[in-house]
Structure formats: structure tokens, C-alpha cells
């Protein structure tokens, strides 16, 4: 699994960090998403998908 994020779409809701802080963080300046792990291990696959589904701005893609 590969996670990709699009900072230009991100609206800083924080839903990804709330869902899995091991995978996502937020930029201190403008709150936009910072991807911590591009290839999550099996234990984080479900939360990666959940974060992508919850993102209000569709800024997270799973492939």
C-alpha cells in the first residue's frame, strides 16, 4: 500500500492525524497534512484507508 497526500487540497481539518497519528502529522504553520509514512505496514492499512475516506478535502489517496 502507498499513501500520497496533496497539500494544495488539504484544508487542515486534522481528521487524518486524529485517525492515525503514526501516519500523519500537520504542518505547524498552516495546519496542512504532513505524511510520516508512505508505505504503511499491515497494522496501519485499515486506518490509512479510514483517514483517506474521512478527509473532507479528498487530499489523501491510497494506491
Amino acid at each position: 500500500m502507498r499513501i500520497s497526500v496533496d497539500q494544495s487540497k488539504c484544508c487542515g481539518s486534522g481528521m487524518c492525524v486524529l485517525t492515525d497519528p503514526d501516519l500523519f502529522d500537520q504542518n505547524e504553520d498552516d495546519g496542512t497534512v504532513v505524511l510520516l509514512v508512505e508505505h504503511p505496514d499491515a497494522t496501519h492499512e485499515a486506518t490509512a484507508k479510514e483517514a483517506a475516506g474521512l478527509c473532507p478535502a479528498s487530499a489523501i489517496t491510497i494506491s
Binding site: 481539518s13 504553520d29 474521512l54 478535502a57
Partner: protein, 403 residues
């Protein structure tokens, strides 16, 4: 295909915690149906969860009030056309790129990490307010003594607004949100809060370096004074009125669902999910939000044309069994409730949602820890409901305790 058409939006709630039964009935027939607006416009009523998410997430819809058809003359009467413009800084009513530029100035202040760092401080505010409530004896209005003060104290301190000046915004906020206010009354109330905010911005510019969000915003040099004062107004209003109503009607809900309250007391770790479920179950927006299509767009097989106004009914969408299987009409603190649209969806999704979550988590937990035998002090049917307000909840909640 014959389309379901509603001549006006049903707003009567048969039960304090449920959306109007008529709208649930509409959702069961059609998650997208037609709704007549006050000016004769045949717009849309959206009651399905998936459909609400799709529209709120689509760049083909605007929240610019100039584009919206007037919903209903029962509320606010006739709106003069020239007064519906989004003012500078009111990013909730703006589209990208203006919205993006303004919201970005604030997003860094509301990150999950920053909000988590406030937990201990918020816990102190909650403790102090609960101690104050106990000092009143054995009964109190929970809204006046707890639900409204806690988020008001929090947002005032975060923004650098003097809480002792709350008389300059609390009553006028109520007038702005009242469905019984005429458009002029609501605009006059907003103008008074704008005056207060302009004074605040001037004071902060004269005394720079304050440790608060507005001082930080001004220090960036990015917003104009007019933008900064309207942004501050938006944060102040959204920061106290919404959470206050969730704490108020959330407490009422838990008191009326003793089996669920027992779960919260016995398993305090359920609180994060309980907050999501209370948000899903109550939604607290009375109806709405509204968007208008800026180009033709097909949603679920329906062609929504450019210029069509769409009313999304969030309380009903949050009870959609397609999204929340089992019995979505029941409060179930253990239900997977994330994905509700009570904070909205799309680029306008609540900026302060992580703050609201922490205020609710700490507020509900400590309230029932400190007052384990809290009970309603009037008959439940006598609790005054905010059916006259855009943000739903309870006007007051008389409660009692013995120890």
C-alpha cells in the same frame, strides 16, 4: 420518474433528539428530492449521507450567500438583495482562492497537536465551572452555569477577548442565530459584534505581541483590518455557540438515556466514541447547510443545474441507515460513529472541530464524574428546545443533584 416535491421544509420535531419525522419519511422515499424556496425557485432537499458528502465535497457548489435562493419567509422575512454579500474575511461564505488564503492563516492554530496541548488548561476551566455550579446549592440551569460558560471562556482566552465583555457578543449572537429575528434585526446584531471586533483589532494593533490567536494573526501582516475583524467574529461565534449547545442538549440526551449514561460512567474510555456518537445523533444544526450549484452537476442520477440551491439536512443524513447500519435512530455510544457530517464536509468542514472534541470529551467526563447523581429538575417535555434557532439545542436545562 415522478419527483417528490416539498412545498416547504418540515421543521417540527416530534421528539427533542430526532429530526422531523416528515424528513425521515422523505429520505426513505428519495435521498434527493425537490424543495420549493421562498422566491418560487424549485431547488433540492438532500437527506442521504452519501449525497450530502458528495455535494459538500464538490467544487461545483458555492456557499456565497449572494448565489443562494431564499429558503423560507418563515425565517428572517424578505432579505434585501444587496445585503447578502459575503463580507471580507467571512471565509465560511467564500470560495477558493479567497477562502483558501484566509483559512490557511488560521489552520495552524487549530491542529490536533495544538488542541491536545490545551487539554490540561481546558480541564481547569471545566473544574472551576463545576465548582461554581456546586456552590449554587443543589440545583442550577446547566446551560447558564456550565454549557455556555465553558466554551465561551475557552474561545475568549484563545482569541484574547476579555470574558467580562461577553455581554457585547453573547446576546447579539443569539439574535443573529434566531429564526424569529427579521433579517434587519440579525444584521443589526451582527453590526454591533463587528463594532466590538473592530475595537478589539485596533486595541491589539496598538499593543502588539499578545499571546493569543488574534495577535498571532495580526502579527503575520496578512489580513486587512476588515478581514481580521470578520475572521475574529466568525471564530468567536462558532467557538462558543456550537459547543455550548452540544454540551447542553448532549447532557439532556444522556440523562434521558440512562443505559447509555451508565456505559459512559462504567467505561470512561468510551468517551471519544461517545462524543462522535452524540455529534452524529444530535447534529445540532437545526437544518442545512445550503449550497448553490455553479455549474450543471449530476448527483445520484439527478441533474442539479447551475444556479439551483440545495438544502442539505444534516440531522437526517446522520441517521441514514446506508451509512450507519443497525438502528441509526438509537443512541449507541459504542457504535462506530466516525464519518458523520455534523462538522460538515468539504473545504468548509469545521475549523475548530478538534477543539470542540476536546471540550466535549473533558466537559461530559468531568460533569458526570463530579455530579454522578445529576438529574433533570423539570419534566423532560418542559425543557425549552431551540426550535427557533439555526443552531439547535436547549435554551436552558434545569438540573439537580444531592451530593
Amino acid at each position: 420518474m415522478t419527483e417528490l416535491i416539498s412545498d416547504e421544509l418540515p421543521t417540527t420535531r416530534q421528539n427533542p433528539f430526532d429530526p422531523p419525522a416528515e424528513i425521515t419519511g422523505i429520505r426513505e422515499q428519495a435521498r434527493i428530492s425537490r424543495l420549493k424556496f421562498a422566491d418560487g425557485h424549485l431547488g433540492w432537499l438532500v437527506t442521504g449521507h452519501h449525497q450530502v458528502r458528495e455535494i459538500l465535497g464538490s467544487p461545483k457548489f458555492t456557499n456565497n450567500p449572494e448565489k443562494h435562493h431564499l429558503l423560507d419567509k418563515r425565517f428572517q422575512g424578505d432579505v434585501p438583495e444587496d445585503k447578502r454579500k459575503a463580507e471580507p474575511g467571512m471565509f465560511l461564505s467564500q470560495d477558493p482562492p479567497d477562502h483558501t488564503r484566509l483559512r490557511k492563516m488560521l489552520q495552524g492554530q487549530f491542529t490536533v497537536r495544538r488542541m491536545n496541548q490545551l487539554s490540561e488548561w481546558i480541564a481547569t476551566i471545566v473544574d472551576d465551572q463545576l465548582a461554581h455550579m456546586r456552590s449554587l446549592g443543589n440545583r442550577a440551569d446547566l446551560v447558564k452555569e456550565f454549557a455556555l460558560p465553558v466554551p465561551s471562556l475557552v474561545i475568549c482566552a484563545l482569541l484574547g477577548v476579555d470574558y467580562d465583555e461577553r455581554h457585547r457578543f453573547q446576546e447579539d449572537t443569539a439574535k443573529m442565530l434566531s429564526l424569529d429575528s427579521t433579517f434587519k434585526e440579525a444584521m443589526d446584531a451582527m453590526a454591533r459584534i463587528q463594532d466590538f471586533m473592530r475595537e478589539l483589532i485596533a486595541r491589539k494593533k496598538a499593543n502588539p505581541g499578545g499571546d493569543d490567536m488574534i495577535s498571532d494573526l495580526l502579527a503575520t501582516g496578512e489580513p486587512t483590518d476588515e478581514e481580521a475583524s470578520n475572521m475574529a467574529l466568525l471564530l468567536l461565534l462558532a467557538g462558543h455557540e456550537t459547543t455550548a449547545n452540544m454540551l447542553g442538549i448532549g447532557t439532556f440526551t444522556l440523562l434521558q438515556h440512562p443505559d447509555q449514561l451508565k456505559i459512559l460512567k462504567d467505561e470512561p474510555e468510551v468517551i471519544d466514541n461517545a462524543v462522535e456518537e452524540l455529534m452524529r445523533y444530535l447534529s445540532i444544526i437545526h437544518f442545512g447547510p445550503v449550497r448553490t450549484a455553479t455549474e450543471d452537476v449530476e448527483i445520484d442520477g439527478h441533474l442539479i443545474k447551475a444556479g439551483d440551491t440545495v438544502l442539505m439536512h444534516v440531522p437526517t443524513a446522520n441517521r441514514d441507515p446506508e451509512k450507519f447500519p443497525g438502528n441509526p435512530e438509537e443512541l449507541d455510544l459504542r457504535r462506530p460513529a466516525s464519518g458523520h457530517v455534523a462538522f460538515g464536509h468539504g473545504i468548509h468542514q469545521c475549523l475548530g472541530q478538534q477543539l470542540a472534541r476536546i471540550e466535549m470529551r473533558i466537559g461530559f467526563t468531568k460533569l458526570f464524574q463530579d455530579f454522578p447523581d445529576l438529574r433533570l429538575d423539570i419534566a423532560p417535555e418542559e425543557v425549552p428546545l431551540r426550535t427557533d434557532m439555526g443552531i439547535y439545542g436547549v435554551h436552558s436545562l434545569p438540573v439537580a443533584w444531592s451530593s
